[in-house]
């Protein structure tokens, strides 16, 4: 089991860890609470339950006096127990058990941070248990409350108690945190792995960088040589004018050559690494996007769209920055610090020590100032967010602002926040403008110390003894000294860049490490042709492993039949559709298409036989034409117009400024809900699916539009197996079979007339209610 360290992110990114161990590492690293039920509590409870296992548990972390504690509530197949720490109890725990059969009422009262679970007896309503807990415990407690309230057993497919507890406790952290954190260096190494395909070029870039650094050392040395071997002997008259010129020409040629070579090497290094950085970012983006396409709908429903887009765009861009410049800069700077330090010591160990000894202090100072500025900057950034918050509020709501004549109020609000932002950022500027001159002064003080010591030695001390340092050596030393401080500044910048890049890499790798929920067979079966027989047999489904959303659904849709799904919201209609589309796999039971298990089919091929018209159809940014032929790029204009006519969309499309080539979707022409739906229907007609899924296609449109959509749908469903969710029951009166769902179960089934004949039936009541409403508003 990995242990945590205060100096490194202590959670379980290690891919070798099991999901349970990763979750436990997160609980230990973030929540400071037990990562599992104490063994002693489990043993005591199971002994009291005659060996029945603990199937589910949750921590109750508040006492009746609302102080922290670590009590547990445990659920077994027949009993419930509350374990409370009690120093006077024999094993340190007081266990109070009761039979599940005796439970009459289970209620949860939610407060701001304290929540109360009360379990009462069936016969007299007396309290069996009361536990209190903070909101943090609600995911685990919610699972337990659900099973108690529903008086149901855990699904046979449920994971163990430890897995369920750990997953519930970490769900919020995993959702909120872009990644399951890990050690920085592990992430850096993984990122370096992306350089593998380009290793020859990387090696060339690094060699160019090293050579560039080595060549950079030549000019100072040549300068020293020019002074000591040419200029001073010439001034002293010991070197002839002609010879001085000859030597100077060689030295100047050397300096020119060094600078030219350095330029070429810098060009090679920058060009290669910039290109490689772009290639690595491209590979990451491709991997990421390909992986995103394989992930299940559940992944996207848990993540904010913006967060996913950021990972593909700006996170990979930041990684380019790191690969192109960061990695090489850090390695070259390290090389320069060590190399130049050695040269300075070699040239003159006493002067060298004067330079090297203050370095740790200088690094400490740079780091300390960096942290201070970072703190001030954080505050400034918060104020900046407040300012942009005004924009986010008022720009989309500009109609409301104007309608209530609040322009002056909003202007004043913006002005005030703008003033605060300026104050805070001026504070940031004040800090760094204080910090940088002091940093420079410290470096200059080192230089002055070197000058003083050097002058002392060049003049032979106060007594005028023989000089122990030549002018040329001194000048060369000074030039090396200037170079020595540059990489130290680079280090201070690189810490920030490294943190930022590792964070981005984490966010990218988190998606790459997410396994698709559905088990896609490597070589799925292709049904050619798909006839469209859809059969559900005792299908159960749960999103969280505890709460079933579908509870034993069985029905058959024969090819060409229309099945209507009816029921209140939350009854499982949309989930059922999602299972047919294979966005999720059933937890239990089977779904077959033409007698073949859905799980064995080639998903891509199967989905090409599937059409979907959803409640709020999504149109991509592009022309109506692009949107219509999204699923069939080879469709001819004639086919497209025919499909649009069938969907009652042709007329309104022709009225748009650019007809079929009007830009719609995000940032495009705004279409009404009914228009979008008709385009979606036309898209589905063009796609010519064998199985059609319709979700509340006429739920939010006026009567006339509804009629034209109904006509379009009537044409669309002909000859196809259609599964239709309908809130307006008039749309399913002609269905071959209507399934009435309630709380995940089919409670009534039959044709419209059959269901209307059921006295006090759910469908009949719903139909009657809708008819009355329709009459009221149709007047």
């Amino acid at each position: 089991m990995p242990t945590t360290s205060p100096f490194s992110p202590p959670t379980g990114f290690d891919p070798k860890l099991s999901p349970l161990d990763r979750d436990r590492a997160l609980i230990r690293g973030f929540l400071d609470q037990p990562d599992r039920l104490p063994d002693e509590v489990r043993r005591l409870a199971e002994a009291e339950w005659d060996g029945d296992p603990v199937q589910l548990y949750a921590l109750a972390d508040l006492t009746a006096e609302l102080t922290f504690t670590s009590s547990w509530i445990l659920l077994g197949p027949r009993r419930v127990a509350v374990a409370t720490p009690d120093p006077e109890a024999p094993q340190g725990w007081r266990i109070e058990s009761f039979d599940r059969e005796t439970i009459g009422e289970v209620t949860e009262s939610r407060g701001l941070s304290a929540n109360v679970l009360r379990i009462r007896r069936t016969d007299d309503g007396d309290t069996l248990a009361t536990v209190r807990y903070t909101s943090r415990q609600r995911p685990a407690m919610g699972n337990l409350i659900y099973l108690l309230q529903e008086r149901t057993a855990l699904p046979s497919t449920a994971e163990g108690a430890d897995e369920t507890y750990a997953a519930a406790m970490t769900s919020e952290i995993k959702d909120a945190q872009a990644t399951v954190a890990g050690h920085q260096m592990a992430v850096v190494w993984r990122l370096i792995g992306y350089l593998k395909p380009y290793r020859a070029k990387v090696a060339l870039g690094i060699v160019a960088g090293l050579l560039m650094t080595l060549v950079s050392l030549a000019p100072p040395w040549l300068t020293g040589a020019l002074i000591d071997k040419v200029l001073r002997p010439f001034e002293a008259g010991t070197l002839a004018h002609r010879e001085a010129w000859r030597m100077s020409a060689w030295i100047l040629a050397g300096v020119l050559g060094a600078y030219a070579l350095r330029t070429v090497l810098a060009w090679i290094r920058m060009r290669i690494m910039a290109f490689i950085g772009e290639w690595v970012a491209r590979d990451l983006r491709n991997d990421l996007y390909e992986h995103l396409q394989r992930l299940s709908i559940s992944f996207f429903s848990k993540r904010q769209t913006g967060s996913i887009i950021t990972r593909v765009s700006s996170d990979t861009d930041r990684l380019w920055d790191f690969v192109a410049f960061g990695m090489v800069e850090v390695s070259l700077s390290a090389f320069m610090v060590v190399g130049l330090g050695a040269i300075l010591l070699w040239m003159d160990w006493r002067l060298g020590l004067l330079v090297i000894v203050p370095v740790p202090f200088l690094l400490w100072y740079i780091r300390r100032c960096g942290r201070i500025i970072h703190g001030i900057f954080l505050r400034g950034w918060r104020k900046w967010a407040d300012l942009t918050g005004v924009l986010a509020d008022t720009i989309p709501g500009i109609r409301v602002v104007k309608a209530f004549h609040q322009e002056d109020h909003e202007k004043a609000r913006f002005k005030e926040r703008n003033r605060i932002v300026v104050d805070e950022f001026n504070r940031v500027h004040g800090a760094w403008t204080n910090f940088q001159p002091i940093q420079l002064l410290l470096m200059h003080l080192v230089a002055v110390a070197v000058w003083t010591a050097a002058v002392w030695r060049m003049l032979g001390g106060m007594e005028g003894a023989a000089p122990t340092l030549t002018t040329g050596e001194f000048v060369a030393f000074l030039l090396y000294l200037g170079m020595f401080f540059m990489p130290i500044e680079v280090f201070s910048r690189m810490t920030w860049m490294l943190n930022r890049s590792v964070s981005s890499a984490h966010r990218v790798f988190e998606i790459l490490d997410t396994e698709p929920a559905s088990r896609i067979p490597a070589r799925g079966i292709r049904l050619e042709p798909v006839k469209g027989r859809v059969a559900f047999e005792n299908v159960r489904f749960t999103y969280d492993g505890v709460r079933p959303v579908l509870k034993g659904i069985s029905f058959v849709a024969e090819p060409g039949q229309m099945i209507g799904l009816v029921g209140p919201s939350g009854s499982g209609k949309t989930t059922l559709m999602n299972l047919i589309a294979r966005f999720y796999d059933p937890t239990d039971g089977s779904i077959t298409i033409d007698g073949t298990p859905l799980a064995d089919l080639d998903v891509g091929h199967y989905r090409r036989q599937l059409g979907m018209v959803m409640q709020d159809p999504f149109l991509f940014h592009g022309t109506i034409l692009d949107n219509l032929r999204y699923g069939l790029p080879e469709a001819t204009p004639g086919q497209i117009i025919e499909a649009a006519r069938a969907a009652s969309a042709h007329d309104f499309i022709c009225r748009l400024p650019h007809a079929y080539e009007t830009i719609v979707g995000e940032r495009g022409h705004t279409l009404s809900g009914g228009e979008r739906q008709r385009i979606a229907i036309a898209r589905a007609i063009l796609h010519d699916p064998r199985i059609l899924l319709l979700d509340e296609a006429t739920s939010s449109v006026d009567t006339e539009t509804e009629r034209s959509i109904q006509n379009a749908l009537a044409r669309l469903v002909q000859g196809r197996t259609t599964i239709a969710i309908a809130h307006r029951l008039s749309t399913v009166t002609r269905a071959d079979l209507i399934l009435v769902l309630k709380e995940g179960r089919i409670v009534e089934t039959g044709r419209h007339d059959d269901l209307m004949a059921i006295e006090d039936g759910v469908y009949r009541n719903l139909y009657r209610m809708q008819s009355e409403l329709h009459q009221m508003y149709a007047v």
Binding site: P9, F30, L31, D32, L62, A64, L66, T67, F68, T107, S109, R110, G111, L112, S113, A114, V116, R118, T127, T130, T134, S135, R136, R138, P139, E172, I173, D175, A176, Q177, A178, T179, A181, G375, I376, L378, R379, R382, A385, S503, H506, R507
Partner: protein
């Protein structure tokens, strides 16, 4: 339904009941203005969330009813009050807080773009990623280190 003077009772397990001549209805309390006026305008709601009574001013209730309501309000309005901030660290998209509360030491996490709710007395409320609320008193009541962290991350 609004009852001008409902009779309230609190059971041994802390459940609040509205007593009517016909029945006792278990209710939960929901202050309408939890930050600006938490003790008044209290909505009493049954298990289905339907309002059974709205108490505008508990002072108008019978003493035992008012006492029961006050206790229920204290429980429902319970917040974790921070007495000292030990550290605030950035941990991969989250800010990780180590604090001392009146109830004991606590670690919690907030998003990086934390939105704090300023209170009328100069204090602040922070909501962590699990929904727990933390009360911060005005900065001048804290030690210098906590004040410095508040300045950076909250105020």
């Amino acid at each position: 339904m609004t009852s001008p003077t409902p009779h309230l009772r609190r059971s041994a397990d802390g459940q609040l009941f509205v007593e009517t001549p016909e029945a006792e209805i278990p209710v939960s309390v929901r202050p309408c203005f939890p930050w600006t006026d938490p003790q008044r305008h209290v909505s009493l709601r049954d298990a289905e969330g339907v309002e059974v009574a709205l108490v505008e001013d508990p002072a108008a209730l019978a003493p035992e009813s008012a006492a029961a309501l006050r206790t229920a309000l204290a429980e429902a309005g319970f917040l974790l009050e921070i007495t000292r901030i030990e550290s605030v660290e950035k941990r991969f998209e989250l800010r990780d807080w180590s604090v001392e509360t009146r109830q004991g030491p606590r670690r919690f996490q907030t998003p990086l773009d934390l939105h704090v709710h300023p209170l009328a007395d100069g204090g602040h409320l922070i909501r962590d990623i699990t929904g727990d609320l933390y009360l911060l008193r005005p900065a001048d009541r804290y030690d210098p280190r906590t004040r410095k962290l508040l300045w950076t991350f909250v105020e």
